[in-house]
């Protein structure tokens, strides 16, 4: 029976179930299939806070959201058009954030009385009228999976576990995605467990075929390929991209890479990725705490290596004192802050952007550092490289403000030609003649870097104030004033070395939206929609947060209104106000999840309207 095939241009799908349901693998594979048909996409996995919550509970729900389209996609989507719910709990937690009129595909086998109770339903939503506004497809996924595998030589449990691939097959049919990438994946994943591999493959195909044969869905969809730049692509999340960038920077600079970290969510991933890249010479140390992590990195930097440490809020708090040591000794040091919900332990698995002012001012005394922030998962790669370039050139700590959202979220990444990435030039001082540890490069104000072991350049660094040039301990009043000012100027000089801020959007816009970090995609999507709606709204997104780009003030003053949406209570706003005396207007929400594009659009609309009214 031939099914109706419709064209769509953009869909958000969410897979949700118990941690044991395998939704993360399913999501990844759906992403791969999506890539192959040439749609653009972005994904957002969401893990439960508990390690392994009891089965069927709402707090044990794991999910994977993906938005894909026939054109550029900037975010994993606000709320799903299609929800695949493996159990009642998965339905429960997602019901309030599902598109009105959206589609629900529910594994009805799991809607048992016990599971319904665990999820807090008093009656079966698949049977009462409560889902009235949605298109609901009840599918006995578990039973169908087992049925389809009745001849396979694997146990019942193993058969049951194939239900995610069965569901994946269904979704591939529904959105016209090929099965091959997933079949390939299964071959690799279960190379040594052939029977499991075959069972999963069979389930996958069965899921696909059953839709083709049976009346499960009256319709299926097809999305034309997006017009992506030609090239090779892979799906990448921020954790991997950050680590990769560091390894590449290490090779581009010829410097050893020493990354020391203490596990903390969501920073651990980057440490773990790097720990598995030993073949590239990356040294990772799991230290006893965050203080030792950063001081080890400082020792490495003094030695002449790239010293890196990564952490999240509570851990960054502990690095505060040592960061000042790096400021005082003017050593290159990279500190990753994978921001998460706080203060204190807060909501450790959730995202927010609340550490900007902490990165700027979170150290006693006057202690300027460079601050960078990636805009997307793939940008994490580039920011890592830029961090190493600036740290070593200016002999200063660099804080990279990443986010929980960027760590886990993924997007297609056009793979760069590594040979085209310029080398990072590091000129260690080797000549003893006229050497002083605090003599400064005229252009950068950087002091010389010495690889320990170099004869004739023996010197002692430390946290006490040093005389400029000579670098001996100094309590001289004017020297301290000078050094404070030099340290500040040095960081300001970086503004000469980075590209100017760019306006995206209409040149004649009255309103500009300024953002930073992982909200890039959300703001960009909102801006595009606003302009499609007839508003003239421009956008400036900052990857350099300290120093700010040198043209930024002038650029922002051109607009009648400066809007600053942030996942905090107004931190970039505060900075822009103080620096430029611009009455920046914030949109500030801290919910632990990324913005909805729709709420940003509403914000922009409201502010745009009030502007027109004047």
């Amino acid at each position: 029976m031939a099914k109706k095939l419709e064209s769509l241009d953009k869909v958000t799908v969410k897979f949700a179930g118990d941690s044991g349901d395998g939704v993360q693998v399913m999501g990844d594979q759906f992403g791969n299939a999506t890539a192959v048909v040439g749609n653009d996409f972005a994904t957002l996995p969401d893990y439960p806070a508990e390690i392994r919550a009891p089965q069927g509970t709402t707090y044990g729900v794991s999910s994977y959201q993906i938005q894909f389209a026939a054109y550029d996609v900037y975010t994993p989507g606000d709320i799903p058009d299609v929800l695949v719910a493996f159990n009642p709990a998965a339905l429960k937690v997602n019901l309030t954030s599902l598109k009105p009129g959206g589609t629900i595909i529910a594994n009805e086998d799991e809607f048992t009385e016990q599971n319904l109770r665990k999820a807090g339903f008093s009656s079966n939503p698949l049977e009462d009228d409560s889902l009235g506004s949605f298109r609901v497809y009840r599918v006995p996924i578990t039973r169908l999976t087992i049925e389809s595998l009745k001849d396979e030589p694997v146990g019942h449990k193993d058969k049951e576990r194939c239900r995610n691939f069965f569901a994946l097959g269904m979704m591939c049919w529904l959105f016209s995605r090929p099965l091959e990438p997933s079949i390939e994946f299964l071959k690799k994943r279960f190379a040594t467990k052939v029977q499991v591999m075959e069972a999963n493959t069979k389930a996958l195909k069965a899921g696909y075929n059953i839709c083709d044969t049976m009346e499960i869905f009256p319709i299926h969809y097809q999305l034309p390929p997006a017009k992506l730049e030609p090239g090779k692509y892979r799906n990448v999340n921020g954790a991997f991209a950050s680590a990769c960038g560091l390894v590449v920077a290490s090779h581009k600079s010829g410097l050893p890479l020493i990354y020391s970290g203490y596990p903390i969510t969501p920073a651990s991933e980057t440490l773990e990725v790097l720990a598995a890249l030993k073949q590239y010479g990356a040294v990772t140390i799991q230290s006893e705490d965050e203080i030792s992590a950063i001081t080890m990195a400082i020792g490495a930097a003094y030695s002449g290596a790239i010293g890196v440490t990564g952490t999240s809020g509570p851990g960054l708090a502990l690095k505060t004192e040592a960061l000042n040591l790096a400021v005082m000794t003017e050593l290159p040091l990279i500190v990753f802050d994978f921001q998460r919900s706080g203060p204190s332990t807060g909501m450790p698995t959730k995202t927010e952007q609340t550490d900007l002012l902490f990165a700027l001012f979170g150290r006693p005394a006057e202690s300027p550092v460079i601050i960078l922030s990636p805009s997307s998962p793939a940008d994490c790669f580039w920011i890592s490289i830029e961090a190493v370039r600036l740290a070593t050139k200016y002999m200063t700590p660099v804080i990279v403000l990443s986010e929980q959202f960027l760590v886990h979220s993924s997007e297609p990444w056009k793979l760069p030609d590594l040979d085209k990435i310029p080398p990072i030039e590091v000129n260690f001082r080797t000549d003893p003649k006229g050497f002083y540890p605090y003599m400064r490069d005229e252009k950068t104000l950087a002091r010389p870097w010495v690889k320990l072991g170099t004869p004739g350049l023996e010197h002692t660094l430390g946290g006490l104030e040093k005389s400029n040039i000579q670098g001996t301990i100094s309590y001289e009043p004017e020297n301290h004033d000078l050094m404070n000012k030099l340290r500040a100027q040095k960081i300001q000089k970086v503004a000469q070395d980075i590209p100017d801020a760019q306006i995206m959007g209409p040149a004649d816009a009255d309103v500009v939206v300024v953002g930073w970090g992982g909200t890039y995609g959300h703001i960009k999507a909102a801006i595009e929609m606003a302009n499609q709606d007839g508003m003239k709204v421009a956008m400036v997104h900052l990857r350099y947060l300290n120093p700010l780009q040198k043209n930024l003030g002038d650029l922002l003053r051109r607009f009648k209104k400066v809007l600053v949406p942030e996942l905090n209570l107004g931190q970039l706003s505060y900075v822009l106000r103080a620096k430029y005396l611009i009455d920046a207007i914030g949109y500030n929400r801290i919910t632990g999840r990324p913005f909805y594009v729709s709420e940003l659009l509403n914000f922009i609309k409201d502010e745009y309207k009030s502007l027109r009214m004047h």
């Binding site: 090239g231 892979r234 590449v248 010479g281 006893e288 400082i298 490495a300």
Partner: protein, 339 residues
């Protein structure tokens, strides 16, 4: 500087390890003695000066790197050990020393001591123990005697002191030794021994703070009493002490007793000291004057691979096992092409 190159050998004098900075400890401070011993030991070692890195924390003692002509790093309070770890791991060719005080190493920095011991990073730790906070002007430290009156405990401290050697041993130390700053030769000897050891070496040095805790070690280190009140350890030799070598120690079931005997005729059951015997080392570390003589010398020495050795070993293994092509790294996921 006067370096003579003879057949590829460098010959230093201790003064070659002096920097041009004025030494600013209080007159009478025993830090001077340790500095001199350290410089002398380094001259003995005959390693190019630029290979030495001296890392310290904060405290009077931690000013030492400024007085050395080697590379030096004056860190922050309590953290010289991880800083030194970073230096060593980034460049294992360097000879890395840590200078620390009883506050620096045992109060704020106590945790790093534990962890460096179990890692066995090849760094050498010199703990200047004056049982007081010198730099901040006389508050008690973790090694201060219980009941000691000082600036933050005007009615006497209420805490039991911690024994650095015992702590190091419990944490898995592979080399632990102790001496007093006044025993110049012994100190130089132990610094050299510490350097010879591959792995973390911990050297506990009693150091008199002339200003805030003067004479605290006098009871067992004064010239006229030290032979009777110190127990100088020698591997493979019985635990005998006393000016006349007429006293010895017996360990059994965790208890220790002193045996007195005719100088030439020690009983057979005097315990033989063994550098590799952990429990014995621990028991020795808890002996104090006046009940017992204070053990001095190498208390423990065992061989074990060092941290950086194991790390780079794994890296080598990975290089043999996996491709080191950078493109393989970024192409490691599922890759597709858009035309």
């Amino acid at each position: 500087m006067s370096v003579t190159e003879q057949e590829g050998q460098i010959t230093y004098k201790w003064t070659d390890f002096k920097s041009d900075q004025d030494v600013r400890w209080c007159p009478g401070c025993e830090d001077y003695a340790i500095l001199k011993a350290f410089q002398t030991a380094l001259a003995e070692l005959d390693i190019p000066r630029e290979k030495h890195v001296v890392v310290s924390g904060i405290g009077c003692s931690s000013r030492l790197p400024y007085y050395m002509s080697t590379y030096g790093f004056h860190g922050i309070h309590g953290r010289p050990i991880p800083i030194a770890t970073g230096v060593k791991v980034a460049n294992p060719d360097l000879v890395v020393w840590v200078i620390t005080g009883d506050g620096d190493c045992l109060s704020i920095g106590g945790n790093h001591l534990i962890h460096v011991m179990r890692r066995n990073v090849d760094i050498k730790i010199l703990l200047f123990d004056n049982r007081i906070y010198g730099l901040t002007k006389g508050q008690y430290s973790p090694t201060s005697d219980k009941g000691m009156v000082n600036r933050t405990a005007p009615m006497g401290t209420v805490e039991e002191p911690v024994e650095p050697v015992a702590l190091a041993l419990a944490s898995g130390a592979t080399f632990v030794a102790r001496t007093d700053a006044a025993y110049l030769k012994h100190l130089i000897h132990l610094i050299v021994e510490a350097h010879k050891h591959k792995g973390t070496a911990f050297l506990h040095i009693y150091q008199n703070c002339y200003v805030y805790n003067d004479g605290v070690f006098d009871d067992f280190t004064q010239r006229d009493v030290r032979d009777d009140r110190n127990l100088v350890l020698e591997h493979g030799k019985p635990l005998i002490f006393g000016k006349n070598r007429d006293k010895g120690l017996r360990f059994k079931d965790g208890m220790v007793e002193i045996a007195e005997f005719e100088p030439a005729d020690p009983p057979e059951d005097i315990t033989i000291f063994d550098e590799t015997n952990l429990s014995l080392a621990f028991a020795l570390s808890k002996l104090y004057w006046p009940r017992f003589p204070v053990p001095m010398g190498v208390i423990r020495r065992v061989e074990q691979p060092s941290f950086e050795e194991l790390i780079y070993g794994q890296i080598e293994k990975a290089k043999q096992k996996f491709s080191t092509d950078l493109n393989k790294l970024i192409y490691s996921g599922d890759v597709w092409e858009v035309k």
